[in-house]
């Protein structure tokens, strides 16, 4: 079967502009990982339930596995790679490390980005606020308590920053 032609799209990712040629059937997750080699964003369930593919689109959490790459054009995408500044971890990443909130690390990129979206909006969330915000991010290792603690501790340092 003849494949449909690719189209040239422009994606804004972590402050950089990338031009990629993609067919409409490529998801944002695939393009980030395979075309842009930004493999920090993970594939888990691939159907929108687990949250490991979470990126921020205009600062708001998005399942990259459910988003067509062509739909993300013209909007700022933030992946986990966009948080640290060189060797300097983002305060939320630092808090996750310091509080034992990372075991296998697979849920961590999605979890940290979801946390960032929360803290940018609400720098002093209650435990309930945090649990609601991360209710769409599964973790099979930690039992979530350390993650909630880390996000709470990171709050005052992480507000509004990049």
């Amino acid at each position: 079967m003849k494949k449909l032609p690719k189209q040239l799209i422009s994606l804004q990712v972590n402050g950089y502009e990338y031009e990629v040629a993609v067919r409409p059937n490529r998801t944002l997750l695939e393009v980030l990982r395979e075309d842009l080699r930004l493999t920090g964003t993970k594939e888990g369930c691939d159907d929108g339930s687990c949250g490991t593919c979470t990126v921020l689109l205009e600062g708001v959490p998005l399942r990259a596995c459910l988003c067509l790459a062509v739909e993300a054009q013209g909007k700022e995408v933030t992946t986990i790679e966009g948080l640290a500044e060189g060797d300097q971890l983002h305060p939320i990443q630092r808090a996750f490390v310091d509080h034992g909130a990372i075991q296998c690390g697979y849920c961590s990129p999605g979890m940290i980005l979801t946390a960032k979206a929360l803290l940018d909006r609400n720098p002093a969330p209650t435990d309930l606020d945090i649990k609601l915000a991360i209710s769409g991010n599964f973790c099979r290792c930690t039992g979530y308590n350390k993650i909630v603690q880390a996000i709470k501790m990171a709050g005052p340092n992480a507000a509004g920053g990049m």
């Binding site: 409409p24 998801t27 929108g48 689109l57 988003c67 067509l68 739909e71 769409g136």
Partner: protein, 333 residues
């Protein structure tokens, strides 16, 4: 899992969308939030040749109060619905239903139109192609057997949307457009009762909005969702209730709608159960009898049909009590 190839367009107006839809033989799909369509395509269950993205059609978005009703554009996101004071204050069942859907990141892209029009679900249907190769194709997937019910001759897939039961309880109507035509229809009328094709909507029609009449005094509503986890899961059973209190704080009218009980939400006639009584317990026996007729709960969700059937009066009870509580809350505002 890779998506199959398809053509893609992003029309800017409703007119353009309706022109594209004209003559649709079923190979054109609308893309709203994508949370239902994209997984189905990854599983090889939907293979559209053309996807029409609705994201740029401004006419389809917005929550507008006009006269005695609220008009919600079909592309309004669940996040916008959840943060709307108009919805929270007047339609508690809808507010609760929105918060019961999936998880906050999904609310950012999911839409009211998409949530209503989601396909029905079954443990044996919503699986990848590889998984489904282990068994013969089920009825819904185009095969000749029901995998959930041995020797079953009809489809027992479950309509699992959270918003529809709440919207039906709130007496919602849908605005439906096709080229050069539009109509308004009660929401419950778009459900066919057939798991193979859950909607009566024509292939060239588009749901453009939801209309809710503003409630009068003494009216409350609530939505209750039963699931294993407190987020993400589809309902195993749900109930939406709307209650109108009359003089002497007696229940004048009540509507009870069940979700996840079969291929369509079930509207339960509640006059025998409540009329005239004060805030009272649900008549479990009467409810069980009524429900035995309308529900078709088999072992095709995470928990067995027998358990879910036993929970019907429990969930109904919670929904009625929630609706009554919401009346008090509204009056105290």
């Amino acid at each position: 899992m890779r998506l199959p190839d398809f053509e893609y367009c992003e029309p800017a107006t409703l007119e353009e969308v309706l022109s594209i839809l004209e003559g649709n033989q079923g190979n054109i799909r609308m893309l709203a939030g994508g949370t239902d369509l994209i997984p189905l395509m990854k599983y090889g269950l939907e293979v559209p040749s053309l996807i029409v993205s609705l994201k740029n059609v401004a006419d389809l978005k917005g929550i507008n109060l006009r006269d005695k009703e609220v008009f919600i554009g079909a592309m309004t996101s669940l996040a916008d619905l959840g943060s709307s004071a108009i919805i929270r204050d007047n339609f508690p069942a809808l507010h609760q239903a929105v918060e019961a859907v999936a998880a906050p990141p999904i609310w950012n892209v999911a839409t009211i139109g998409g949530n209503i029009c989601q396909n029905s679900r079954c443990l044996y249907y919503n699986q990848s192609k590889t998984w489904r190769l282990e068994k013969p194709s089920c009825l819904k997937a185009g095969g000749s057997v029901c995998l959930a019910v041995p020797k079953g001759k009809k489809c027992f897939s479950v309509y699992s949307g959270d918003l529809a039961p709440a919207l039906i309880a709130l007496r919602s109507t849908l605005s439906v457009h096709k080229k050069n035509q539009s109509r308004i229809t009660p929401l419950q009328d778009v459900f066919s009762g057939n798991g193979l094709a859950p909607f009566t909507l024509a292939k060239d029609e588009l749901v453009t909005g939801v209309i809710l009449p503003l409630p009068g005094r003494g009216v409350g509503s609530s939505y209750v969702k039963m699931r294993v986890r407190s987020a993400v899961d589809y309902p195993l059973l749900s109930a939406a209730a709307s209650v109108t209190l009359g003089g002497g704080r007696r229940i004048e009218k009540a509507a009870l709608i069940f979700g996840a009980v079969g291929p369509t939400p079930i509207v339960v006639e509640t006059d025998q159960l409540f009329a005239g009584s004060t805030i009272d317990l649900v008549n479990h026996d009467a409810l069980r009898e009524i429900l035995r007729q309308g529900t078709q709960m088999v072992d095709n969700l995470a928990l067995p049909g027998s358990y879910r059937r036993r929970m019907l009066p429990v969930v109904a009870q919670k929904a009625i009590q929630g609706a009554l509580k919401s009346i008090a809350k509204r009056e105290n505002r």
